[in-house]
């Protein structure tokens, strides 16, 4: 693929899907579009792009957009992390932070906002338990463009149909022409900041939960280790780190340990050790209320 072909593809994807493709994503393009090329009986990526440039192959255009945006953020992506949030993290924090009544959450790869908004929806849905609590959700991303979109909270019909139950759409969104906008109250729950994870984030302060899903995969091992180390410093001992379903800390850092039976959920090593012993009792005690839902 030549630089001008890559440039064309970038613009094409941006206009068609809002996907912002940075220049270092050439490998991503290849891994996603080679299967499309094969299934369309085209020999090379250049051939695919030439077809796109001609603008006559609608089916191929759709396939390319879909192949490139499949892993784009969507509401309640992967479900499980949000179940962990409601069933594990929130109950623990509501207990341990009872005197402070404050919970701080950081979405470190907020992208177009679906993850922070999904968390805000979880909190609203649990409003009774959250009464009197202050919650702060910070969404950060490398790209100003995606953050602008996140801030606006404006999503296409396509985007709101992936992962968002229809009742929640009705409850929290307003229809704006062809688009759907999450309501002002929800938008006010989240603060947005531009941040490159490669740079220091000590100025953000401490958090109780960090969501950092499917972003470390873009970094090399040493950088992953370094970022995880700094994230450990931004969390108290009983804080939580949430990684993507296919991500792990094994072999990367000693700072975190997986929480047993909770895929993608991690705690700092000292906390994980401390809670394996003592967590049994409070969990049983709290189990009455939570158990009913199972």
């Amino acid at each position: 693929m030549t630089p001008s072909e890559f440039e064309f593809l970038k613009n094409f994807l941006k206009t068609r899907s809002g996907l912002v493709l940075s220049n270092d994503k050439q490998y991503l393009v290849e891994s996603r579009l080679l299967p499309v090329a094969r299934s369309s009986k085209l020999e090379t990526l250049s051939a695919v792009i030439q077809q796109l440039q001609r603008g006559t192959n609608r089916a191929l255009e759709t396939e390319v957009v879909e192949a490139m945006t499949t892993n784009e953020s969507f509401f309640f992506r992967d479900k499980t992390p949000f179940e962990h949030f409601k069933d594990t993290m929130l109950p623990a924090l509501l207990e341990s932070r009872a005197s402070r009544k404050q919970i701080k959450i950081w979405c470190a790869a907020a992208s177009t906002g679906q993850e922070p908004y999904s968390l805000a929806i979880c909190l609203k849905e649990d409003a009774a338990k959250m009464a009197g609590w202050r919650t702060r959700i910070l969404g950060t991303d490398l790209s100003n463009e995606v953050l602008e979109k996140a801030k606006a909270g404006l999503y296409s019909q396509f985007e709101v149909q992936r992962g968002l139950p229809i009742q929640l759409l009705l409850k929290y969104f307003e229809q704006k022409g062809e688009m759907w906008q999450i309501n002002a109250g929800m938008r006010a729950m989240i603060e947005w900041k531009k941040l490159n994870l490669l740079e220091s984030f000590t100025h953000l302060g401490e958090f109780d939960i960090i969501f950092c899903r499917n972003v470390l995969i873009y970094f090399d091992q040493a950088t992953k280790t370094e970022i995880l180390g700094r994230m450990a410093k931004a969390l108290p001992d009983d804080g939580y780190l949430v990684l993507g379903a296919a991500e792990t800390v094994v072999g990367l850092t000693d700072a975190f340990k997986p929480v047993a039976g909770k895929r993608g959920l991690f705690q700092k090593k000292q906390a994980a050790q401390a809670t394996t012993g003592s967590a049994a009792t409070p969990r049983l005690a709290a189990g009455g209320g939570l158990g009913l839902r199972r």
Partner: protein, 121 residues
């Protein structure tokens, strides 16, 4: 194998939906309007119904209301699938007993996401 009744007056939509749902391991029956769908349900209650709104003879909403009044008619999980994409229509469908709602145009991922939402897959 779970059964899904696809109700749409467009044979193209029925075909597209059938292909997607068969890949999701559903056994498919089809109906062209609400009345046909109701007849199908009286023969065998399906596990799921993918339901268009605007159809001749009997529309999707009328079908849904009749279905929910039938014996065993509360069981099928009903997912609307329609170009009616405004809040008022969606709210009416939910009040009438729809479990989920797909706004056309749809694709495989949306159908999968919605069916997952209501516990069908």
């Amino acid at each position: 194998m779970k059964q899904c009744l696809v109700v749409d007056d467009s044979s193209v939509i029925r075909k597209v939906a059938r292909r997607i749902l068969e890949d999701m391991n559903f056994e498919i029956t089809e109906a062209e309007d609400g009345q046909q769908a109701l007849d199908e349900c009286r023969k065998t209650m399906p596990d799921a119904i993918l339901l268009d709104w605007n159809m001749p003879v009997m529309d999707g909403l009328e079908f849904l209301t009749s279905l929910r009044a039938e014996e065993g008619g509360e069981n099928p999980i009903v997912v609307f699938c329609t170009t009616e994409n405004d809040v008022a229509h969606i709210a009416r469908a939910i009040r009438a007993g729809a479990n989920e709602y797909i706004m056309k145009p749809f694709d495989r991922e949306i159908v999968e996401a919605k069916f997952q939402e209501v516990g069908l897959i």
